[in-house]
């Protein structure tokens, strides 16, 4: 993948000043929404914080509540333990006869909820708990309440790189088999909707899918025929955005999220091995943020377009005049008053509008990297980025850049990652045997969406890691990494719903926020590296790289010996060797 060309020409008038500040370009040009000034962005690390903020915003909403998500479980509690169920909270806000504490009637707040739904994909994974196939009432298409304790939205990818959100029958988001109360709650919730609430699902039309398939085919050397078909067939709406009180700029808040509104997304920074407050689900690492400022205008445009596109013909609610009248500038002063000063851009993948803004933002950011790149992402499977990183580094070295850059990745391991059991391994290690046959591949390029190997990352300084929680007595459990965050150089970050794979970069609908914001980027890094490595990070990346190496090595030993890990960080490629690169 070629480096984005960032050559620019500017005329500078020196008659009134002698100093000019130049910065790297961080905003991609071919992106639907422009960069907006004076935004206030607040990181929300992990579900406890993110969901508490969402709950607060919804509870205080006065003019509107707009929700886009991939998954939705009205029975979940945002605040735990003992918080109100999301469904109850939303219904109470939308209810024309709800009372406040002092028994006054509160005006109802219009609630719009837009969730992805694909009837076929739903066969395997129910991302809308309680909503039957095409509104039949409850549970998955396979029958009400079917499904185990597996988490929603977190299936590990199959080995050929295809991360199918919907094609894994065991990976159901259904409520715990024992939680009859929640199941009943959900069935009832979907059956009755207050007048001021509307629930819509959205999907890709046949035409949309054909267009996606065409785009994929047109890209030379990209996914083969079966992959194209699969990407098109299972394209999903993956965006997760919440918009509150948009009509009233002083109060308006938005959330750009990695979290879905599903119960297994709740967790704390400590990612306990065992946790009753997680309803028995596995530990979950995820990131969202709260925003104020003119980016809300773009979040609204995205929402209104998507909502109108999902029109079912039986419109209950219409857009208010106040909403239509809002301009981006209206949100500047309210954000500034609260300290908002960040230039930020909403970027998306939106195949229906041929928008690949997120990919453009990533490409630009990686080409700009000088010091470090940090990926915290559910998937790390877009080979073009590996090539891009190698190219960036090569160019820097050739230009005489003295310092090396370092790459840190926190992601998930695929299921068994090609492990051989000890017995087979020892059998294969006997001396004096005949060399076994090997099956050579045909000449030509590899599938761009398959798992990265150590070899693909050769020549760059990189740690690819995953997270592990320790229990007692040598027990370990994966902390599922659902985050979608990129940090570059303590200068730039982008956060949202986009995974590092072909789907998120090209064929699903996704939404991220991107900002060259040194203080915020630093804040993300300090928080995340502290919880992953067990100690506050420093500024020097070479030191950090070696510190990570030490932690990884110590944890590998501890894990082997059945001891508790000092921090969750463990190596991803722990059974792969370096190829020989002779002097």
């Amino acid at each position: 993948m070629a480096l984005t060309d960032t050559t620019a020409h500017a005329d500078i008038a020196l008659n009134s000043q002698r100093e000019v500040r130049l910065t790297m370009p961080w905003f991609a040009e071919n992106s639907k929404y422009p960069p907006r000034p004076t935004n206030l962005i607040e990181p929300l690390v992990n579900g406890e914080r993110a969901f508490a903020a969402v709950h607060e915003a919804i509870a205080n909403a006065r003019t509107s509540i707009d929700i886009i998500s991939w998954g939705f479980d009205p029975s979940m509690r945002l605040i735990r333990p003992g918080g109100e169920r999301l469904g109850d909270l939303l219904r109470r806000k939308a209810d024309k006869f709800a009372r406040n504490d002092g028994t006054f009637l509160e005006p109802s707040v219009p609630v719009r909820i837009l969730i992805w739904k694909n009837a076929i994909a739903n066969m395997g994974e129910n991302n809308i708990i309680g909503d039957g196939l095409i509104g039949s009432g409850g549970g998955t298409a396979l029958g009400s309440g079917v499904g185990g304790l597996e988490s929603a939205g977190g299936g590990a990818a199959t080995d050929d790189g295809f991360n199918a959100y919907g094609d894994n029958h065991l990976n159901s988001a259904a409520v715990r088999a024992l939680d009859d109360e929640a199941r009943a709650f959900n069935r009832a919730w979907f059956r009755y909707q207050p007048l001021d609430m509307e629930f819509r699902t959205r999907d890709f039309s046949f035409y949309d899918r054909a267009a996606i398939a065409d785009q994929q085919r047109a890209q030379s050397g990209m996914a083969g025929a079966s992959r194209t078909g699969a990407l098109a067939a299972f394209a999903s709406h993956h965006q997760k955005v919440i918009l509150i009180d948009y009509e009233s700029p002083d109060d308006a808040i938005g959330f750009v999220m990695g979290h879905n509104l599903l119960r297994n997304y709740w967790d704390t920074d400590s990612h306990e091995y065992q946790s009753t407050v997680r309803d028995g689900f596995a530990p979950w690492q995820d990131l969202s943020c709260r925003v104020r400022g003119p980016v809300l205008f773009d979040l609204n445009e995205n929402f209104m377009t998507a909502w109108d596109r999902a029109d079912t013909g039986r419109n209950k609610m219409s857009w208010s005049e106040a909403r239509r009248a809002r301009r981006a500038e209206d949100f500047i002063a309210p954000a500034q008053r609260r300290g908002g000063a960040t230039l930020a851009q909403i970027c998306r993948t939106q195949p229906q509008e041929n928008d690949k803004g997120i990919l453009a933002a990533y490409r630009l950011a990686l080409a700009n990297a000088r010091n470090y790149v940090y990926f915290e992402n559910q998937y790390f499977r877009y080979r073009q980025f590996a090539e891009l990183l190698r190219t960036t580094r090569r160019r820097l070295k050739a230009a005489g850049w003295r310092r090396d850059f370092h790459i840190f990745v926190v992601t998930n391991t695929p299921d068994d990652h090609g492990r051989v059991n000890t017995y087979d391994m020892l059998a294969a290690l006997g001396q004096g045997q005949m060399m076994p046959a090997m099956h050579k591949n045909a000449s030509g390029q590899r599938d761009p969406d398959s798992a990265l190997r150590t070899a693909d990352l050769e020549g760059v300084n990189i740690h690819v890691c995953t997270l592990l929680a320790s229990g007692r007595g040598g027990q370990y459990k994966n902390i599922y990494v659902h985050s979608k965050l990129l940090l570059v150089d303590d200068v730039f970050f982008t956060l949202g719903s986009a995974n590092i794979n072909t789907r998120s970069m090209e064929t699903d609908s996704e939404l991220n926020i991107a900002a060259p914001a040194p203080a915020l980027t630093r804040q993300w890094r300090e928080h995340l590296w502290r919880i992953h490595t067990g100690a506050a990070p420093g500024e020097d990346m070479e030191t950090e790289f070696d510190r990570w190496e030490r932690m990884i090595k110590a944890n590998a030993s501890d894990r082997k010996l059945g001891a508790a890990l000092a921090a969750p960080l463990v190596e991803f490629f722990d059974n792969e060797d370096a190829w020989l690169a002779p002097d």
């Binding site: 050739a398 051989v420 000890t422 017995y423 000449s443 190829w579 020989l580 690169a581």
Partner: protein
């Protein structure tokens, strides 16, 4: 796990040093020229580099074969073609050179140009190790030390240590680094661990120097905190960061291990 069926004897290892035919001088000159270009700017000089490697390969320069193979995998100067890299590594094997077996082992392990096959990968690496290839000795040593089942791991540990010692004896610093971790965590023989880190540190192994710095800085593995010694290692660690080829053959005099006192300058 049924350990009766394990053929312990076949796991035994005798240290061998890798011995390969000498390079043709002209071919080696081409190879070195290509390497210099590559270190300067691989992309800009890609055509020259590929041409020089091909010339060297015609005269059976096996390192040129491996290097060209890597360029095929990454698609630098040539169209990406992992199969070509495999073919080149096979030519190295045909010359009777151990590193070819190791490289094929890595390809099989990671599915580069071949269908991944972990068992086959191990067989190739074993062959390379027995022929004296130090990278293969390191790789197998690590896998044996990394076995989760305690009783098996303890039984094969002497083989692992033998392989790592053999690799380090041929100058592979990382092998001593791996041994150091084994002594620090598995057997808890801190003195051995420190010596192994020190041995690797002499060869300029950055991570070993970092570990020595960290151990004395924090006082880990039963070692007393020793800020002066820690600072000594930290200085050398920083030096290696800027000069990747630095070695410290006199490390025992500059930053000696306890109980030797720190030198006074």
């Amino acid at each position: 796990m049924n350990t009766d069926k394990i053929d312990w004897q076949s796991l035994e290892f005798t240290c061998t040093r890798e011995q390969n035919p000498p390079f043709d001088p002209e071919a080696d000159h081409w190879y070195r020229t290509a390497r210099n270009y590559q270190k300067k700017d691989e992309e800009a000089f890609a055509t020259e580099i590929v041409a020089l490697y091909r010339q060297a390969i015609d005269k059976n320069h096996y390192n040129a074969m491996l290097r060209l193979g890597l360029m095929y995998i990454q698609g630098v100067g040539v169209q990406p073609d992992e199969r070509a890299a495999v073919d080149l590594a096979e030519r190295v094997i045909d010359l009777g050179v151990a590193s070819g077996y190791y490289q094929i082992g890595v390809f099989l392990q990671q599915g580069i140009g071949v269908r991944p096959d972990r068992a086959a990968s191990l067989a190739y690496m074993r062959k390379a190790a027995d022929m004296g290839n130090k990278e293969a000795q390191l790789a197998i040593g690590k896998k044996l030390i990394g076995i989760k089942e305690k009783d098996i791991r303890e039984r094969v540990a002497p083989v692992a240590v033998a392989m790592l010692d053999c690799a380090f004896g041929q100058g592979l610093a990382e092998a001593s680094y791996e041994l150091a971790w084994y002594y620090a965590k598995d057997t808890q023989e801190t003195a051995h661990a420190l010596k192994a880190f020190q041995a690797a540190g002499k060869l300029g192994h950055r991570q070993s120097l970092y570990n020595l710095y960290s151990i004395f800085n924090k006082g880990e593995y039963g070692v007393d905190k020793d800020p002066v010694r820690a600072a000594c290692y930290e200085r050398l660690w920083r030096e290696v960061k800027t000069n990747k080829d630095a070695t410290f053959p006199k490390l025992d005099r500059i930053c000696p291990l306890p109980p030797a006192p720190m030198p006074k300058f």
